[in-house]
């Protein structure tokens, strides 16, 4: 059985073999990523050339309407599904070029998951602490270390006193907190959370995001949350919106110091430009100007103008 150092070497080796061309040394790089599902004779293109770059230590949210492809993206990045085309790289692993063994180690040590349905995050027949120990057991950790680390993590998520309870004896929020402890048990480089608050009330959802944020800040772990709830943006640094299988816009959130020395959160939305210069216009812009089929572009020294394709309009404005 391979030891921890072996895994590290393999991870580094994989990283060396698959040196990125796009996205530099970012932790997550998706380049023109395509995922096609085939259901019976019907092909569904879930990701249509998606580009995404996530740096180490980021806490981002991926939002989008139902069917936009956000969960597909998470599955691909988590090594659960294989992409159909393009490039996807996480922590140096090329997700298109991994064998089963690499994929297992990747899931065991590089990524962690928190799922939407609380009941599916944990094994019902194990206690909370046993559930947290499980990834470490699979990784060959010693019993004493596992138990120590599991209790430590449960304490971190505020459930030290519930360590020996079964999932059925915990509330939904508590189950999700245990799930977060499970996800970070093996100190992964990135944690993927798929609608982690989807089944929770808003107060509990807020608590969960606080826990995720604490982990992000205290442990420096990268966290990618997939959700269709736009309000999640309040809890993360960056929100990436996906539409029709591609990233459409990003909202950056930063804290500024105002004139009187107070802190205020500033959010700014950006459209995403892909590597070949394509971008998606926000829906509300398109509807407001009744843009259809074609638009007219004009280049100014510091920006680009977009004009509806109505005869004479651009020229008049000019």
């Amino acid at each position: 059985m391979a030891g921890i150092s072996d895994y590290r070497e393999m991870e580094l080796g994989a990283a060396a073999r698959h040196r990125p061309r796009y996205g530099g040394e970012s932790l997550i790089v998706c380049d023109n990523l395509v995922k096609i599902y085939k259901i019976a004779d019907l092909e569904v293109v879930a990701l249509q050339g998606l580009d995404l770059v996530v740096d180490e230590g980021e806490f981002i949210a991926i939002v989008g309407a139902s069917g936009s492809g956000k969960s597909t993206l998470l599955n691909v990045l988590g090594g659960l599904d294989t992409p159909s085309a393009g490039h996807a790289r996480v922590a140096g692993y090329d997700l298109l070029d991994m064998n089963a063994r690499d994929r297992t180690f990747y899931r065991r040590r590089t990524v962690g998951f928190v799922w939407q349905q609380t009941a599916r995050n944990l094994l019902s027949y194990l206690s909370a602490v046993e559930n947290v120990e499980l990834p470490m057991t699979l990784d060959g950790g010693s019993g004493r270390y596992r138990r120590f680390r599991a209790l430590e993590l449960l304490e971190k998520v505020g459930l030290a006193d519930r360590a020996h309870h079964r999932p059925a004896q915990l509330s939904g929020g508590e189950q999700q907190r245990v799930a977060i402890a499970v996800a970070i048990a093996n100190q992964p480089r990135v944690v993927f959370a798929d609608e982690p608050t989807g089944e929770l009330d808003s107060r509990t959802a807020g608590e969960i995001f606080e826990v995720l944020r604490d982990i992000n800040q205290a442990e420096g772990g990268t966290i990618v949350v997939v959700t269709h709830d736009p309000l999640v943006a309040e809890h993360v640094n960056r929100t990436v919106a996906i539409r029709d299988g591609r990233t459409s816009s990003e909202v950056l959130r930063r804290t500024e110091v105002d004139e009187v020395g107070g802190h205020r959160v500033v959010s700014e939305e950006f459209a995403v430009l892909d590597r070949v210069g394509r971008m998606q216009l926000p829906h509300e812009y398109v509807e407001a100007l009744e843009l259809e089929r074609r638009v007219r572009l004009t280049l100014d020294p510091d920006h680009i103008n977009v004009w509806p394709d109505r005869p004479g309009q651009a020229r008049d404005d000019e």
């Binding site: 069917g67 599904d81 089963a100 297992t104 059925a168």
Partner: protein
């Protein structure tokens, strides 16, 4: 208003029904097929039993001796009369009156033919043609048998006629003036006289003529034999001397003809013979009208009349056997004739055998039925599991628990009732003439049980709290009070049924015949199997928990997770374990009983024949012909010679019994028995003993000895053999010895030892045992034929064919084999359902674990670990339960009645066979588990975990 919910239920049931069945088509189809197979069996068994019963009764009667199966009435009367030339018209009328007035209707209806036979009193032959005195008595009787003219051929002389008296000289030398007999009595000084003596002509068979050394035309004197009670007391035989003239020699038709009633007296004389004594009783035929003449002229109380009523076995219906048996006892002869028949005994024997067959088969069939219902429960649970989401949704939308239960009942009826009906109709079409009552009852039980099983399988989804249903991963509550109560009830029922059975069924062997269909006996194996299953489930939890804990301590994720998953299985996931246990118990029970019967038949054949072939003198203890070349007879086969000494006295013991002695070439006989089921290990002591040249000869003795008990090993005594009384020492006590009767004590001595004891006197062989294939029968038959009736050939293969060919035994054998395979098939399906019933849960759990880094190999091992331990435990415990049940119930089932009845049946559970069975099931399930993991490995985990909304 009250009608509306019912219509709603029906509508809902109709809508949901189809979706329930189609949600798990394989499971639904399996339920249908399993039910159909069971229905075919359950419907078929009573009908086949009925047909077999007819065959068995008819074959049994046909094989019985005529005097056993037929009815005869005997009386001593004087019946005179000659009606229109028929001298026996009144005799025939008496027979007819006896039938019509004395026989119940049921018996009259099975009488196919009748005849009368008439015997005169016995006569003593006082002189023979050559005037030589025979040293031993020769008696003669005349017989008339109705219709005998059609059954004889005249080979020489003529048929008897009426003869006039002849004048004969009595006494010594006579003067020329012969005296009439009246004067003779008044003239004592004269020593001779002349008288007219009646003459009766008779025809005899050549065998009779040969034994009596008579020829056609010979005359012998006969006079009444005073020892025959038919003569009046005080009769002076000499006053009734007459002449028998042999008119001709006849040959009679084959004695095996029903006509002869297996009575050989006309065919050949009866000879009683021993070294000191010989007597002959011969029969002859007179002309029919001469019997009346004799009756008139002789001082007899009458003739012996026998009226024989021939039963036609084909007219007897097995279903009316009991009535018939009762009617035999109700025969009331109008003239106090004595009635002789064993028909009632034969019917009793048949009824006992049928009752035992029903008892045995109902036990096995009930086990199969319960297993089938268990399998239906498991498969229905699978369907219910597939429909769980929809069921929860329907309940969420307002469906009542009653409506859902009713839907389950519809599903059960649709699947189970249709399959049962199909099976019932197929069997009915195949065997329309048989009674359908038991088949109908069995089918009804199957429908009821199957439908209840389907309802019970869906009950958790219909009756559990909705909130609990919406959290399907809630572990099963094994400590629920209701469940504990049910389990305790089953265990109490199991213990009670065994206790009751032991008290009632096994305590009194004389009640064996009353077994028949016995609900308690039939249900006991199933109840015990079910109880054992529940105990296993309970005991398995702490065991698996311990193994899981050990696995966790050893960083073994597979053991840790596999055993923990096993403990957490819901009730539906545990049910297959109980069904597998039941199925294996039923299969092993059937197999053990079937093997015990087969092996018992084999041992019986060895016990009866003593070897594959036994050639012996025409009577026990009579030496084999000197010209018979034993080595040539064996022709390369293993063989051993022996000498039998029946009825030998034992000297030197208190109140010793008379014993049969067999001197056998022990070493050679050991080789003859080698590899058979009748090996006698104690023979070694005779072989070893033969090496000694002095001291008493070692012997084996029967455990059924005299009143003083069996002598201990080392006890010495002598055997009385003429002037040679060899001294022997008991080397071993055996319960049985091949070919030696179990009813009388025996002594087996080494042939070499006996020859040594006898010294110069030869010990001629009276029997030879041969080991060889059945194909040798023809050659041996030819050899034996060459000895012209001096030897007999006994074939073990014939004995085996006879006992195994009994219709009941055959049917039980085949029935048990079918039950074995059906139960095994049900067990395998249940084993596989163990894998599938929790498949969706396992897929999801393994998918989740794979996201944590579980390898596919680990997933496979967890899957195997989750399936195999309960299966191995279920198989082993099931096998043990089946074996124990077979041993426990064997006395009640009276297996010996199917094996010939000589030796006690050996009910043996073969550990290797059990291990083989377990191994086969485990391998099968292992392959299924690997296939399952291989199938899920190719699935993408996003799909597996149903992540997101893509």
């Amino acid at each position: 208003m009250t009608e509306q919910p019912r219509r709603g239920s029906l509508t809902l049931g109709g809508r949901v029904l189809w979706s329930q069945i189609t949600s798990a088509p394989a499971a639904a189809l399996t339920i249908f097929v399993a039910t159909l197979l069971t229905a075919l069996f359950v419907s078929g068994v009573p009908r086949i039993l009925e047909r077999v019963s007819e065959d068995d009764l008819r074959e049994g009667l046909a094989a019985a001796e005529p005097e056993q199966r037929n009815i005869s009435a005997v009386s001593t009367q004087r019946i005179h009369g000659n009606v229109q030339g028929d001298p026996f018209a009144h005799v025939g009328d008496r027979g007819e009156a006896l039938l019509t007035e004395g026989f119940p209707e049921s018996l009259r209806s099975i009488v196919a033919d009748r005849q009368y036979v008439m015997d005169t009193p016995q006569f003593r032959v006082t002189s023979f043609p050559d005037d030589t005195e025979r040293p031993f008595p020769t008696n003669f009787q005349f017989r008339h048998q109705q219709g005998i003219g059609d059954h004889l051929d005249l080979t020489s002389g003529s048929l008897p006629e009426e003869n006039q008296p002849i004048e004969m000289l009595f006494g010594g030398e006579c003067p020329d003036d012969r005296l009439a007999v009246d004067d003779f009595e008044e003239s004592p000084e004269v020593s001779c006289f002349v008288a007219f003596v009646p003459v009766f002509q008779a025809a005899v068979t050549s065998a009779t003529a040969e034994e009596m050394m008579l020829h056609v035309g010979d005359r012998v004197f006969l006079r009444p034999d005073g020892s025959d009670p038919l003569w009046f007391i005080g009769t002076n035989p000499e006053d009734h001397t007459f002449v028998l003239e042999i008119s001709g020699i006849i040959e009679l038709s084959d004695l095996s003809e029903e006509y002869w009633y297996a009575d050989p007296r006309l065919h050949r004389p009866r000879i009683v013979e021993n070294p000191d004594f010989r007597s002959i009783l011969a029969f002859g035929l007179m002309r029919p009208d001469q019997y009346d003449r004799m009756l008139t002229s002789m001082p007899t109380r009458g003739f012996r009349y026998m009226w024989r009523y021939f039963i036609d076995p084909e007219r007897i219906e097995a279903t009316r056997a009991e009535e018939l048996r009762a009617d035999v006892a109700r025969i009331l002869p109008p003239n106090e004739e004595q009635v002789f028949t064993s028909l009632d005994d034969l019917i009793t024997e048949f009824l006992d055998q049928r009752a035992l067959t029903v008892g045995l088969m109902s036990t096995a069939v009930t086990g199969l039925l319960v297993t089938a219902v268990g399998l239906i429960l498991v498969l229905a649970a699978l369907i219910a599991d597939r429909q769980a989401g929809a069921t929860v949704l329907i309940r969420d939308r307002g469906a009542s628990r009653g409506q859902l239960a009713l839907t389950g009942a519809y599903t059960g009826l649709l699947l189970v009732a249709s399959a049962t009906l199909l099976g019932y109709l197929v069997v009915t079409a195949a065997m329309p003439e048989t009674d359908a009552l038991l088949a109908g009852r069995g089918s009804a039980v199957l429908v009821l049980g199957g439908t209840i099983a389907v309802v019970v399988a869906g009950a958790p989804y219909a009756f559990r709290r909705l909130g609990a249903l919406q959290r399907p991963d809630t572990p099963a509550d094994a400590s629920s009070g209701r469940r504990i109560v049910v389990e305790i009830f089953v265990l109490i029922a199991a213990v009670a049924s065994v206790a009751l059975l032991r008290r009632r069924g096994l305590a009194d062997p004389s009640e064996k015949a009353a077994v028949d269909f016995d609900a308690l006996l039939a249900a006991t194996p199933a109840i015990i199997g079910f109880g054992a299953g529940l105990v296993v489930l309970r005991l398995m939890v702490p065991l698996m928990r311990s193994l899981s804990w050990i696995g966790g301590r050893r960083r073994d994720a597979v053991a840790f997770l596999g055993f923990r998953r096993l403990i957490s299985l819901p009730a539906a996931g545990r049910a297959p374990t109980v069904v597998v246990l039941l199925a294996v118990a039923v299969a092993v029970f059937s197999s053990v009983v079937q093997v015990a019967i087969s092996e018992g038949q084999e041992r019986h054949s060895w016990q009866v024949a003593g070897a594959d072939f036994r050639v012996e003198g025409r009577a026990g203890g009579v030496r084999l012909p000197a010209h018979l070349d034993l080595a040539g007879l064996a022709d390369g086969m293993s063989w051993a010679e022996g000498a039998e000494f029946p009825d030998t006295a034992v000297i030197g013991l208190a109140r010793p019994p008379r014993v049969s002695v067999l001197a056998i070439d022990a070493d050679a006989y050991r080789q003859v028995l080698a590899g058979s089921d009748t090996e006698v290990p104690a023979l070694t002591s005779l072989v070893d003993g033969a090496a000694r040249s002095t001291g008493p000869a070692p012997v084996l003795i029967s455990s059924r000895w005299g009143e003083e008990g069996v002598p201990d090993t080392g006890t010495q005594f002598a055997l009385e053999m003429g002037s040679l009384d060899p001294r022997v020492v008991v080397a071993g006590v055996v319960d049985s010895f091949p070919a030696l009767s179990l009813d009388e004590p025996f002594v087996v001595i080494g042939l070499e030892d006996l020859r040594r004891a006898w010294g110069e006197l030869p010990v001629p062989a009276t029997v030879v045992y041969l080991r060889g294939p059945e194909a040798e029968t023809e050659r041996l038959d030819a050899n034996v034929d060459e000895t012209v009736g001096l030897t007999l050939l006994r074939s073990r293969y014939e004995v085996l064919a006879g006992v195994a060919g009994d219709p009941f035994a055959q049917w039980v054998d085949r029935g048990l084999v079918i039950i074995f395979y059906l139960a095994l098939a049900f067990g395998i399906v249940a084993s596989l359902s163990l894998l599938t019933v929790t498949a969706s849960r396992r897929r999801r759990d393994l998918g989740y674990l794979r996201t944590l880094g579980l390898t596919s190999r680990q997933a496979m091992m967890i899957t195997i670990l989750e399936q195999v331990p309960p299966l191995v435990v279920a198989t082993l415990v099931g096998a043990a339960t089946g074996g124990v049940m077979a041993r426990l119930l064997a006395p009640a089932l009276d297996i010996e009645s199917f094996t010939g009845g000589l030796l006690a049946a050996r009910v043996v559970v073969e550990p290797l066979a059990i291990l083989g069975l377990t191994g086969a099931i485990v391998v099968l399930l292992g392959v299924a588990a690997i296939s399952f993991v291989a199938a899920t490995r190719d699935e993408e985990y996003g799909t597996l975990l149903e992540v997101g909304d893509q």
